[in-house]
């Protein structure tokens, strides 16, 4: 598997598990979970600095931007204008020209507003951003995102934080077959088998946050996800056997009494 490399916009990534940094009990736990997960891409949100209480520590004091690829996201943005504004702020903060682009359509489902997403992606690609869009499991939208210049597409497996797993493997499979850029399954994974399943389908990577941070033991789950993503990738590359309704004996009949 030494030559099984993930390359997006000319950048090589070692890990096919990408992780978020929200919902941990503290920065020490965040750091430990990320280390154990083996992830080298870490997504972060952009928010106002707390100017009242300056005793609070900074996330990036724990997650070294020299060691990890920092992937700022536009979490919480519901309009094209906001998503573009947050992306520009993220780049101005000076750690990355990558953006995990979210333009959300609805608070209850956190499903993307795909029309707004394509529009925002178009603007940001023109400004030189490497835009990785969080999108629905819609192959047509995925292709439109590629057409406006996204070097990878990140379809959801299920709603953000839902832990429902891979709800529409057939759509994801169609996206993986139709779309000629890396596909990163983003959101909805609940446990290790979900991550392995996404990789077995042919995903190039999986991005998750809540499945690890929300587990009873986040560090142990981070390790489980590390193995699951690697196992799923290996199984995909190995090529699974076809499904058959009836048994096929694996021991020869010859030599029996």
């Amino acid at each position: 598997m030494a030559d099984d490399r993930l390359i997006i916009a000319g950048r090589e990534f070692k890990s096919r598990l990408w992780v978020g940094t929200g919902k941990y009990k503290d920065f020490a736990e965040t750091k430990k979970a990320i280390e154990v997960s083996g992830a080298d891409v870490v997504t972060v949100a952009v928010r106002r600095v707390n100017i009242i209480d300056r005793s609070k520590e900074n996330l990036l004091d724990y997650i070294d931007p020299k060691k990890y690829t920092i992937l700022p996201n536009t979490a919480g943005c519901y309009t094209v204008e906001d998503a573009v504004r947050y992306s520009r702020l993220a780049r101005a903060a000076g750690v990355s020209d990558l953006v995990k682009l979210e333009v959300l359509g609805d608070e209850r489902t956190l499903f993307p507003d795909t029309a707004g997403l394509i529009e925002a992606a178009k603007i940001l690609v023109k400004e030189g951003f490497i835009v990785l869009p969080y999108t629905n499991d819609d192959p047509i939208v995925a292709q439109k995102l590629v057409d406006v210049g996204c070097p990878a597409v990140m379809p959801l497996a299920a709603p953000i934080g839902s832990g429902l797993g891979i709800r529409n493997p057939y759509n994801l499979k169609i996206i993986m077959e139709m779309i000629k850029v890396p596909i990163i399954v983003d959101a909805g994974v609940g446990t290790a088998s979900d991550a392995a399943f996404a990789m077995e389908l042919g995903a190039d990577a999986v991005l998750m946050n809540t499945a690890i941070a929300g587990a009873q033991d986040p560090i142990a789950m981070a390790e489980a996800m590390n193995y699951a993503v690697q196992a799923g990738r290996l199984a995909y590359k190995a090529g699974r056997i076809p499904r058959k309704l009836y048994a096929t004996a694996s021991s020869p009949i010859e030599g029996m009494l």
């Binding site: 992780v19 978020g20 940094t21 929200g22 919902k23 941990y24 920065f27 965040t30 997504t43 972060v44 949100a45 952009v46 928010r47 106002r48 600095v49 100017i51 009242i52 300056r54 900074n58 996330l59 990036l60 931007p65 920092i70 700022p72 996201n73 979490a75 919480g76 520009r88 702020l89 993220a90 780049r91 101005a92 903060a93 000076g94 750690v95 995990k100 979210e102 959300l104 956190l110 969080y134 953000i160 934080g161 983003d186 959101a187 991005l207 998750m208 946050n209 809540t210 941070a213």
Partner: protein
């Protein structure tokens, strides 16, 4: 001559002094400027101009950084 000005920093009303630069604002708020972005009246500032841009009465400053978050 310096006089008091009213500005908004991250939505909070603050009294500051005229002639202060963005860099001075950051340092007086105890913010290391290396991983923050500053937006002044909706214009995102290049960090190279933090030392030169002067604050004036009525300015709205947003100082942004990274926090833990995966998705929404």
């Amino acid at each position: 001559m310096q006089h008091a000005i009213k500005i908004h920093v991250n939505g909070e009303a603050r009294t500051w002094r005229s002639g202060a630069t963005v860099s001075e604002l950051l340092s007086e708020l105890d913010i290391k400027n290396e991983r923050v972005a500053v937006e002044l009246n909706l214009e995102i500032l290049d960090r190279a101009v933090f030392d030169q841009r002067l604050l004036k009465d009525g300015d709205r400053v947003e100082i942004m950084s990274f926090i833990g978050g995966g998705a929404s």
